[in-house]
Amino acid sequence: MTEADDDLELLLAAARADFASRLDGKLCELQELSTRGDWAEARRAAHRLRGSAGTYGFPKIGAAAGEMEDILIDADLSPNDEAKSRFASAVAAARVEAEVAARGAA
């Protein structure tokens, strides 16, 4: 490992820890958007989280966010009660994972 590689590892670890510490906030925002019924913005937020969580090394959260996005796309951004319930379950599952991630990063 060179000094530059060490620096990179440190930077990556810091970026990952910072991301992990903000994950729950992102999921709270998703929950709020669903409560407000702003499904278009919820779809966008879920899409962003799908990509970023997977990239930062949190594949389970990325998969849960992908599920949220797919539910809203399938429902054409007008989810019925059953779709809303599945959406809420996916958010809850992701929040459990986010808590684990935040603890691991702390």
């Binding site: 990556l12 970026a15 799908r50 990509g51 990239t55 090394g57 594949p59 990325g62 992908g66 996005e69």
Partner: protein, 414 residues
């Protein structure tokens, strides 16, 4: 097309082909067929109409038409349709106005002038970019030479004459020696190609073309064309630096590698050659002030912008990285300055990434930069469309860093 004794024209001047295309002039003629300029009476536009001679297999034209139809890229001539008239199969193509590269080389040679390094690099990057698209479509051109490169207005560089194109994994037809001898790889002379390696013929052809472009002469004469003699000549071919001292050594080495007698010693894809050309171009410091490696990151997620910036800097610490969350801003930015690498999210809030690519390609703004889409949910159709636009696709996820770092390192070795 290879030279052969002239035969009677297939179509007569003034003839109305398929009740639509009025033959105006003969643009070119060779052993295999002819290309005419015609007027499309329905759409009132000029087109090129290509036919093969009656003694030539129609497969050549069918293959060419299908190959062209599979690719949409400014470096590839657009096919409009295919038809039959008086039992003759014809292909209707975009009429590309311009000057062929072989004529330009001849003219420069006649005036005692040579191509500048930067000018030659721009041409080689464009041709390699087009070849990478052709190869990614699963095809090999098999007749890369200056006569088949058209320089069109607006700096457009078009690869012409796909008559010898073959799926590069196809073994069929390899017993026939096809192509132009001066640009033909040794293994093509034997007619025995390894399955899946037909695209390496194009790498060889590109190497000879590059050599001729910069040196003003072919690397070796085409006298003795037995495979063994050809291999021996390939091995003893003088380096470009022997012809002109201003050719950067890495470029001279890359061109020699492209012309390696053994296919396994050449860059193994046009994309690899393209990256190396980009890298050489990025280091052309001796011709002017060093230009920093410029990257534009387009993603509406600030976390992805941060991650992509970090990954780029991991491979190129001195890179100049600009970021934006909007497609329209990205287009304005490219208008101001074309980056070396554009990393583009597909799902953007204003216009989507595919539209951004189409606009950039349509305006020829992104022709000299490598565009890589970075998406979390690109469909197969998206990836295919992007491929046709010459855009490489990466998926957001745990492998993104490794893949992106590899791309940047190939473009810009540390």
């Amino acid at each position: 097309m290879t030279d052969a004794p002239r035969a009677d024209p297939v179509f007569a001047l003034g003839e109305l082909v398929a009740e639509t295309y009025e033959i105006r002039s003969l643009l070119g003629s060779g052993g295999m067929g002819e290309v005419y300029e015609a007027r499309d009476r329905s759409l009132n536009r000029r087109v090129a109409l290509k036919v093969v001679r009656p003694n030539i297999k129609r497969d050549y034209l069918l293959r060419e038409g299908r190959a062209l139809a599979a690719i949409h890229h400014p470096g590839v001539v657009t096919v409009h349709t295919m038809g039959e008239h008086r039992g003759v199969l014809f292909l209707v193509l975009e009429r590309v106005q311009g000057l062929s590269l072989d004529r330009m080389i001849d003219e420069r040679r006649g005036r005692g002038e040579r191509f500048g390094i930067a000018e030659a690099m721009d041409l080689l990057v464009s041709i390699a970019d087009t070849l990478s698209i052709v190869h990614r479509a699963g095809l090999a051109h098999r007749d890369v030479k200056p006569a088949n490169v058209m320089l069109a207005p607006g700096g457009r560089v078009v690869l012409m004459d796909f008559g010898l194109v073959l799926p590069h994994a196809d073994r069929a037809g390899h017993r026939t020696v096809a192509g132009s001898l001066d640009y033909m790889a040794p293994e093509a002379l034997t007619g025995h190609l390894t399955e899946g390696e037909a695209h390496l013929l194009d790498i060889y052809g590109l190497g000879v073309l590059a050599y001729e472009l910069l040196a003003g002469v072919l690397p070796f004469d085409s006298g003795d064309q037995t495979p063994d003699a050809h291999r021996a000549k390939s091995r003893s071919c003088p380096l470009l630096t022997a012809h002109r001292s201003d050719v950067p050594k890495p470029l001279s080495a890359l061109i020699a590698q492209m012309m390696a007698a053994e296919p396994s010693e050449r860059p193994q894809s046009a994309e690899a050659a393209l990256w190396q050309l980009h890298a050489v171009r990025g280091r052309l410091g001796s011709e002017g002030p060093t230009r920093p490696f410029a990257v534009l990151v387009v993603d509406d997620d600030p976390d992805m912008r941060s991650a992509l910036t970090l990954y780029v800097r991991a491979a190129a610490p001195d890179a100049e990285v600009e970021t934006t969350g909007e497609g329209r801003h990205a287009i304005r930015s490219v208008r101001r300055r074309v980056p070396d690498l554009l990393l583009l999210d597909l799902d953007l809030p204003d216009i989507n990434g595919i539209e951004v690519c189409m606009l950039l390609r349509g305006m020829h703004l992104g022709d000299s930069c490598l565009i890589v889409s970075v998406s979390a949910r690109a469909t197969r159709a998206d990836v295919e469309l992007l491929q046709q636009l010459g855009v490489r696709s990466l998926e957001k996820g745990p492998n993104l860093m490794t893949e992106l770092v590899q791309i940047v390192q190939r473009m810009r070795p540390r």
